[in-house]
């Protein structure tokens, strides 16, 4: 039961990260490695604000805005200074390591006895007694759903259309008289804002910050995006944003399953990569069909 909750909680937290990765990787076609830095950045900012005594609810918008600023920096390095996409992410990721240490103060910060979005008087009053075990999962579910619907809504606005167009066919964007560089910067800032928000929630769920939590974040994000979009491609009821979040829950589920079954922890990475391969191979088989199906995952 606790493990199942843990999978749901972690899966949905990383689902928000995966939504960010989805914007850069699938929509903008931009392999953004900033993620490994912006995820702990959100966490660092959060523990800093909480230890300063700020009300926990403030950390959510603060982390999003902080992450958005980080995304703008990556965008400016790429678009204005004409550094290649992969490199601009690496530069930001490396620099953020130091920034994160500055922001958090040290490499480890514990916030066990502080109020968090999951543990404060208002929330505790709302979930009395035995329901308390579910409160973290419920709150995360609400936040993740909120983020998903906001993103769905945004994709339908003019700005969202332009974002999708830049990744697909940027000549169209230019012919509309819009600066495609600017659109990319906006996309990167939203993406990293989401990643940072995910780090913010993670730090509060774990009640601690650790400098290395960002290592491999981009891989988890990519795996979730690819698992989600390939497995649920046929399920027309699901929007792609939901598939991405489900992909993330599934990813964490696989790790937990392997662990629960008592498989040597050393082997878990190999098992996940085999599983990953299986899913890719199976979904490729289906894709052979028509071109229209192929396009489905973009729109």
């Amino acid at each position: 039961m606790a493990l199942l909750l843990s999978v749901l909680e972690q899966g949905m937290i990383y689902g928000i990260l995966a939504l960010g990765v989805y914007i850069t990787y699938k929509i903008l076609d931009f392999p953004d490695l900033t993620v490994d830095g912006s995820f702990p950045f959100g966490a660092a900012l959060t523990v800093r604000l909480i230890t300063m005594g700020m009300p926990p609810i403030v950390t959510l918008p603060a982390a999003f805005l902080g992450g958005a600023l980080v995304g703008v920096c990556t965008g400016v390095i790429h678009v204005k200074m004409k550094v290649r996409d992969l490199l601009s992410g690496i530069i930001m990721m490396t620099g953020l390591y130091t920034v994160n240490l500055w922001v958090a103060g040290t490499g480890y910060v514990a916030i066990f006895n502080r109020e968090t979005i999951f543990d404060n008087d208002a929330v505790n009053a709302f979930f009395p007694g035995a329901a308390g075990r579910l409160k973290t999962a419920v709150i995360i579910l609400l936040i993740t759903l909120g983020v998903k619907y906001l993103l769905d809504w945004y994709m339908g606005t003019k700005s969202g259309f332009l974002l999708r167009a830049v990744g697909d066919n940027d000549t169209i964007v230019t012919s509309l008289g819009v600066d495609k560089g600017l659109v990319k910067i906006v996309g990167l800032s939203i993406a990293n804002g989401l990643v940072s928000l995910s780090g913010c929630i993670y730090a509060q769920q774990q009640r601690s910050f650790e400098i290395s939590i960002g290592t491999g974040a981009v891989v988890i994000g990519l795996a979730s995006v690819i698992m989600g979009t390939s497995l649920f491609k046929r399920v027309t009821l699901l929007r792609v944003t939901s598939s991405v979040v489900l992909g993330s829950v599934l990813y964490k589920g696989c790790v937990a399953l392997a662990m629960f079954a008592g498989i040597d922890a050393n082997a878990i990475k190999l098992i996940t990569s085999v599983l990953f391969l299986v899913i890719l191979v199976v979904s490729m088989d289906r894709r052979k069909g028509s071109l229209s199906q192929r396009r489905q995952h973009i729109t």
């Binding site: 606790a2 774990q206 662990m259 008592g262 391969l277 490729m284």
Partner: protein
């Protein structure tokens, strides 16, 4: 079609692997879940000591004790899930080895009855696991591996009567290291030393930092810094070139070529932890009421081969006083 059958085969292999892992032992007796943060000589010694300590108190693995051991491979996500997994399996106790796993184990067990016993946590107060007076913040207690800074300085003074500067290389992200550097800086004037520090952020920076350090100081002393210890051989190489000694912080480092150390025996630390765990398992004491413990007396370790390599003479009485001495350098 080929691809599909290939995928099917891979899926089957995976399922078999999962099932093969399933058949764990009976449910009677006591189950302890050990969550260790990384594969690391000292931490492994700690775990062995812990099991030995439990065995001495009558909890023998395989007889009346089932042990589930998970190593998080230095991944905090995995360590969080390990702790949740132990909670859902309703183990009788979680033993957390190293600070990050202790923190995640405490987080996961907060609303349960499962006690957590930690070990190899340098600063339980800083990590939020204990109050300033050593009492636990929850149903969690254990042992700390804080370094015996004063004893180490005293030993260095005895070996090198004319030395002035001690170099320390540490990782800026490791909280343990930062607090130990601070205690070195505080204690050093008493012994007439000046501490020179260099911070690094990754293993790849250690050789450069060591080369630079070796030209500036009279000797180098190590912390239990995970990154620097992993790159110990490059530190030793640079120090040997400059003909200055390197002092270790625990036995494994002395075995691998440090001259001497007033350090912790992690096996002993683990044993002490195992005895604490036994008290909790028997119901003699509650984890929530026990203060965390430290090893009171550090032990002296010397490596004569390492001293000879740089032409250093160790005090004669070390032959008797050393808890353990080595005549060769063992690099593994």
């Amino acid at each position: 079609m080929k691809k599909k059958s290939l995928a099917a085969i891979m899926a089957m292999v995976l399922c078999t692997a999962i099932l093969a892992g399933c058949g764990d032992g009976g449910k009677d007796g006591i189950t302890v879940g050990i969550s260790q943060f990384a594969v690391h000589g000292s931490l492994d010694n700690c775990r062995e000591g812990f099991l030995a300590g439990l065995a001495e108190e009558g909890f023998v693995e395989g007889e009346n004790l089932t042990v589930e051991y998970v190593n998080a491979q230095a991944d905090t996500g995995t360590s969080a899930m390990t702790a949740d997994n132990f909670v859902s399996k309703k183990v009788d106790m979680i033993c957390a080895i190293a600070t990050p796993t202790a923190m995640t184990a405490y987080n996961s067990t907060m609303n349960t009855e499962i006690p957590v016993i930690y070990t190899a946590v340098s600063d339980p107060v800083e990590a939020g696991l204990a109050n300033a007076d050593g009492t636990p913040v929850g149903n969690i207690t254990g042992t700390s591996d804080a370094l015996a800074v004063e004893a180490q300085l005293q030993m260095i003074r005895e070996i090198l009567p004319d030395a002035k500067k001690i170099g320390i290389i540490y990782t800026t992200s490791e909280a343990n290291s930062i607090s130990t550097v601070a205690s070195y800086e505080e204690a050093s004037p008493k012994y007439g030393f000046e501490i020179v520090t260099t911070g690094v952020t990754a293993m790849s920076e250690v050789p450069l930092a060591a080369a630079d350090m070796a030209t500036k100081v009279d000797c180098i002393t190590n912390l239990t810094d995970n990154t620097v210890v992993s790159a110990l051989q490059s530190v030793l190489e640079e120090a040997n070139k400059a003909n200055i000694p390197v002092f270790g912080s625990e036995v494994e480092q002395v075995r691998a070529g440090c001259v001497a150390s007033m350090g912790l025996e992690y096996y002993e630390l683990g044993r002490q932890t195992g005895k604490m765990a036994a008290m909790v398992l028997r119901g003699d004491a509650k984890a929530s009421e026990m203060k965390f413990e430290v090893i009171s007396e550090p032990s002296l370790y010397v490596n004569y081969a390492a001293a000879e390599k740089i032409g250093l003479e160790l005090p004669a009485h070390y032959a008797e006083d050393a808890y353990q001495s080595f005549d060769e350098i063992l690099v593994h």
